[in-house]
Amino acid sequence: MELILVNIIDGLVTGLLLFMLSAGLTLIFSMMGVLNFAHASFYMLGAYFAYQISIALGFWMGLLIAPIIVGVLGAGVERYGLRRVHQYGHVPELIFTFGLALLIEELVQFIWGKNQMPFNIPEVLNYTAFSVAGNSIPAYKIFMIFISVGIFMGLLYVLTKTRVGMIIQAALSYPRTVESLGHNVPLIFMGVFGVGTALAGVAGVIAGPVLGTFPGMAFVLGSIVFVTIVIGGLGSLWGALVASLLIGWLTTFAKSYNLAMSDIFNAIGISTPENMDDNIFRDLWTVTSPQIADILPYILMVMILIFRPAGLLGKRES
């Protein structure tokens, strides 16, 4: 029972981290139709920049400066890279971001090497906030929750309550009309891209000390971010939040309980075959929930695409 509470907190942390990545991506995707393969690479850059800054100026300056650098880099990529490639259509854009992801990974390895960096939790937060039945909840995780929730609130406020947000929302759906009204749509695109990548940078800074700062960190998160925005619905901030939390809890719970497939089958009335060796469903019978935890989001995505193609909270038909 106590474990459920612990898992809810762990899943929340995972989910919110995923949200910070997918929030930026979903805005970029719906606005420009660009599948930004390099999005997770900006997350990695955030972690590495913060590590480098933290050596000289401490963790907090890293948290402040690194996302800004990442955001400026992202805006630069949009302004001088994507915008030029855009006129040739979606496939060149796709290839451009894909190449960028590879380039960033190689650059990171070139500069920092291939080892994991000793990027650690700041001393002030390196204690146990509270424990539940022997499971400690580190204060840093609580800090991660507050940062992510704060960013969500901030984004929501900007997008729904401010003039800038309204123009962005309008540009999402009717870019031509917004342009005719005299707004600088390319500037909006650049801004959204910059803010989106900066958010990924923030995620990198706060995830680096716990999930490890190493050249493969973009790779392990890369595809799951796309799954999140498809499940949540393109362009929907709430959708991204719901999908991220769903995936966070789904994978956390699947991993922390050893639920065997045979138990589920037995529960619905199918008995375990006596001779497992030559049974063609042997692998299906012996599989356990931690083993399939990482593919559960993909199964969910396929289901969503079949039954609700616009995503959980998406509005657009296309």
Partner: protein
């Protein structure tokens, strides 16, 4: 400018040609391991140690066979068995006769099979497989062949030595086994279960599970499960980022027992674990680093640090591979006839500078050596890892571990 470019291109080209002519007669060793992707750091550090060992132990001392140098040729296999076989073929096509590989037993299984097949079909250009780190016991049991030599203790030998140390702890009642989901992880788990139940039947194994290799983002859910099981000790064969992830998350989640590991040192792991893991992580390995095995080893390590300030000798057995190979080539009087070299390696006794005697068991080509159990700490460390101040201090040693262990190998000799 254009002229300059042309000139430099020509001179670079002539340099390359000149260089390849000068090294034409080198004895080449193909190093096939991951140099990109999630496990790149482990592979690259291994490569540095190989390159250094070849220069320091052989080339700087006048080479073998009266002046022939050795050379390491690196191939990136991206830790994929399929890619490894392609790289193996490339290496063989380049006329390389010695193949060194170590990371992932899945890859080693593929290579040993391919080498066996190749040598059967092409008796004129046979190759030897020098396995320096892949520890799946099958490689020197059911899947053994004459061309494969293992310079690391296999998972069974390591677990035998590790559990010898573990069972001496009286208040250890519950053990959790966790590992990466592939042949090596399974071998570790099987060996742990077998050894623990044979040596201490009052110890309960409260968990035994495998997780996807190199794909787990966050180990927290696994740690929660381990803590909930009430385990007093954790055994894992994890390596690379999977080791750091598991170790850090276990400690942060409030687990307070020891973690027994195979590979929790070097390649950035020691620095990443740092202070929080002090005295908590133990690992089984060969070679005496702290305290150092000999003055020669101290000189070697110091020279290595001078060349690679950011590097570690975390796989001292790589130096044994080169030392034993050089000795075998000298003994055989040739580097081209790998059957003669293999014959020399079989049953070879070798005094390692890292302490102790090594014995290449002829019946299965498994090396027998002293095994150490050490602890991650910053006290009494002469040679730290990752320049972190932390290193591994030897706590206990099992001499000539598993010297008489059985093998199912039926070696077919040419």
């Amino acid at each position: 400018m254009k002229k300059f470019m042309k000139l430099s291109a020509v001179s670079a080209l002539s340099l390359v040609i000149g260089a390849s002519a000068a090294f034409a007669e080198n004895i080449k060793i193909a190093f096939i391991d991951p140099l990109s992707g999630p496990f790149a750091s482990t592979g690259t550090n291994g490569l540095h140690q190989f390159e250094f060992a070849v220069d320091h132990m052989v080339n700087d001392k006048g080479g073998v066979l009266g002046g022939t140098n050795m050379e390491i040729v690196a191939f990136d296999n991206k830790i994929s068995p399929k890619e490894s076989l392609i790289q193996l073929q490339v290496a063989i096509d380049q006329g390389i006769r010695y193949i060194a590989q170590g990371n992932s037993s899945g890859v080693a299984n593929a290579i040993t099979e391919a080498v066996n097949k190749h040598n059967r079909r092409n008796p004129d250009n046979r190759v030897l497989f020098l396995n320096y780190a892949a520890v799946d016991p099958a490689l020197t049991n059911d899947k053994c062949n004459f061309w494969h030599f293992r310079f690391d203790a296999n998972a069974d030998i390591k677990m035998d030595a590790l559990t010898d140390v573990m069972v001496a702890i009286d208040d250890m009642k519950k053990v959790y086994i966790i590992g990466q989901d592939y042949s090596f992880g399974k071998a570790v788990a099987a060996a742990a279960v077998k050894n623990l139940s044979a040596k201490r039947n009052d110890v309960e194994i409260v968990g035994n599970e495998l997780h996807p290799i190199g794909k787990v983002k966050d180990f927290t859910p696994y740690s929660r499960k381990i803590i909930a099981s009430g385990a007093d000790a954790v055994i894992t064969g994890n390596w690379g980022t999977d080791m750091v992830g598991l170790g850090k998350s276990l400690i942060e989640s409030g687990y307070d027992g020891p973690i027994y590991t195979y590979y929790a040192a070097g390649s950035g792991i020691t620095a990443a674990l740092g202070e929080s893991a002090k005295g908590r992580i133990r690992l089984i390995s060969q070679g005496d680093i702290n305290p150092i095995g000999s003055d020669e080893a101290r000189a070697t390590y110091t020279a290595f640090k001078a060349k690679h300030p950011d590097g570690n000798i975390d796989q001292s057995r790589i130096f044994n591979v080169i030392g034993m190979l050089a000795k075998a080539i000298e003994g055989a009087g040739t580097a081209d006839d790998v059957v003669a070299v293999a014959g020399q390696l079989e049953g070879m006794e070798y005094d390692s500078m890292w302490g102790g005697k090594l014995f290449m068991r002829p019946q299965d080509h498994q090396i027998i050596q002293n095994m150490n159990v050490g602890v991650h700490t910053n006290e009494g460390i002469e040679f730290d890892y990752d320049n972190s101040g932390f290193g591994v201090l030897t706590e206990s040693t099992v001499e000539m571990a598993s010297m008489d262990s059985p093998t199912t190998c039926e070696m077919k000799r040419p």
